[in-house]
């Protein structure tokens, strides 16, 4: 038996260990809910009192020369500084509650914010679409290059909270997604996602078993590919009491394939001329991680925005379809997967191959692992839909959108950009686990089946449905 005392005094000194992970202030999910909803409520209160958070939700204007970009940045510098301070305070409170020192978070976050600003500015270049310089892909590619070609300073790492930023962004995304759309499209998303998830899981699990992989390992690989990537892999690894190495290998495979898909799916979708809603549904079905999928879906939306009607559908439909498929269709079932597999592991696998550790499983597992940020996403959607119901369509477009919804969308884009940059900066391919041929083959078989079935369902079976999204 190995003894993985990976922590050291320096590591311990950097952190304030916090053992508890239950309660509304002890997970990133809940903090994403509080921060996202606080932003929305404050934005509404200011909007209702005749003003707006527009001054805070700054974004670079389109530019065609360096002088133009510099002038715009200089003009809005106070806005950028204010935005940094507000984000630093909100995120600082959250990371402190999660046991990290805020003094260690802020310097790294300053770098993340400044580089994100530069990426945002690059994306506002009038010729950026000519070179496919979509901000999500720039952020990812830049982060990957830097982290894999250089050694990042340790002080930067505490600010690279991929999952936290994406969850905050998803809650804010709820404010721009009508609740009626969730009700209308949710059942189709759940149906399509269920088919693909079950098929993908059993392909990976059965191929893995045929290759001689341990049942627990095959299950971790299977759900990692079928549900929500790295989060699913760690959830199921915990539920079935997998070895750390098994979780590491599964996570490595998810990360590698997620990075491949984040670049491949938007470009293949564009080559096939898929409407934005259809491409978003395909990405939501066949991408393995929320953060990677949102990068791909947003990149495709940006491609559509700049393609001057060459891609059918509203640019926003790509992100909406992705979110419906991935968050509503796949992510929310992670607790059920964990509970069911924990029961199977306890009652069947432990009986066949007794392990050293005696385990217990309760139905509480379902709620404990439930992605709570989805609750914030739904509340945000319902709240803004309710607010919008008090206005006519004309008033909504001319008054509510520019002063209330658009600034929230801008803040969401900031959160996503922090996330995309952090993905690149935390993905050091050399530090990932060696996977071995058998897990790679099993997982890749699932990837192949997932991509094909996801394409068929999104484009042919439900194509008309997804294409009508956002129209």
């Amino acid at each position: 038996m190995s003894d993985t005392h990976a922590t050291n005094p320096a590591y311990e000194a950097e952190h304030q260990p916090d053992r508890s992970s239950s309660g509304p202030f002890k997970t990133e999910d809940w903090w994403a809910v509080w921060i996202g909803l606080a932003i929305i409520v404050i934005a509404y209160l200011l909007f209702a009192s005749g003003t707006s958070i527009k001054w805070l939700a700054v974004a670079p204007a389109k530019w065609s020369s360096g002088a133009q970009a510099a002038a715009d940045l200089e003009h809005h510098l106070p806005n950028y500084i204010a935005l940094f301070v507000v984000f630093a305070i909100l995120f600082g409170v959250a990371v402190t509650a999660l046991g990290q020192r805020v003094a260690q978070f802020v310097p790294g976050f300053l770098v993340v914010f400044v580089v994100s600003t530069l990426i945002f500015i690059a994306g506002a270049w009038s010729s950026s679409s000519t070179y496919n310089l979509e901000p999500p892909l720039i952020a990812l590619a830049l982060g990957l290059l830097v982290s894999n070609l250089t050694r990042l300073p340790a002080w930067l790492l505490p600010a690279l909270r991929v999952e936290f930023y994406i969850k905050v962004g998803i809650v804010l995304l709820g404010a721009t997604l009508p609740f009626t759309l969730l009700v209308w499209a949710g059942p189709v998303a759940v149906g399509q996602a269920t088919v693909v998830s079950l098929v993908t899981f059993f392909v990976i699990f059965l191929v893995g078993r045929a290759l001689g992989l341990d049942k627990r390992f095959a299950a971790v690989l299977g759900v990692g590919g079928a549900v929500c990537g790295v989060s699913a892999a760690i959830a199921i690894a915990g539920a079935v009491r997998a070895k750390r190495e098994q979780a590491s290998v599964a996570i490595t495979l998810v990360v590698v394939w997620a990075i491949v898909m984040v670049f491949a799916l938007p470009f293949v979708s564009r080559a096939l001329g898929l409407p934005t809603g259809v491409a978003g549904a395909w990405i939501g079905t066949s991408e393995f991680a929320d953060a990677a999928g949102i990068a791909a879906a947003q990149a495709y939306g940006d491609l559509a925005k700049h393609a001057e009607n060459a891609i059918a559908g509203a640019p926003e439909a790509s992100l909406q379809a992705f979110t419906l498929m991935k968050v509503v269709g796949r992510d929310i079932w992670i607790g059920i997967w964990a509970f069911v597999l924990a029961i199977v592991a306890t009652t069947r696998w432990d009986r066949d191959e007794p392990g050293a550790v005696k385990t217990q499983t309760t139905a509480r597992e379902i709620w404990t692992r439930f992605p709570k940020f989805v609750i914030g996403f739904l509340i945000a959607s319902a709240l803004v839909t309710w607010i919008g119901s008090h206005y006519t369509l004309t008033e909504y477009r001319s008054v509510v959108t520019p002063a209330f919804v658009a600034p929230i969308t801008a803040l969401r884009t900031w959160a996503f950009t922090f996330c995309f940059l952090s993905i690149g900066l935390t993905t050091r391919l050399g530090s990932l686990s060696a996977t071995g041929a058998k897990p790679f083959i099993a997982f890749t078989a699932g990837v192949a089946v997932n991509v094909v079935i996801g394409y068929l369902l999104s484009v042919h079976v439900f194509g008309a449905y997804w294409a009508s999204l956002g129209q």
Partner: protein, 83 residues
Amino acid sequence: MRDVAKLEDAGASHTVCAACRHCEHDRHALEATIPGLISFSSGFGASVGETRLCRRHDQLVSPGDSCIEFEAVLEGRDAVTTR
């Protein structure tokens, strides 16, 4: 040792991972020991739940799990076992 107290309240009658010195209770340790976890997820998300790393078995465990290699945490005067 809130986890242990909860388990005691629930009638746990044996030594458990929540009170074991081999169990790495800090969630930062999951991020530090599982490569790639922070790239698309986190040790602080809901999906992790109560899962922690047992350094003895190099295995993911829950607070209520147990094994014969249990060794109580020595925390000041509170050497903890659950009955």
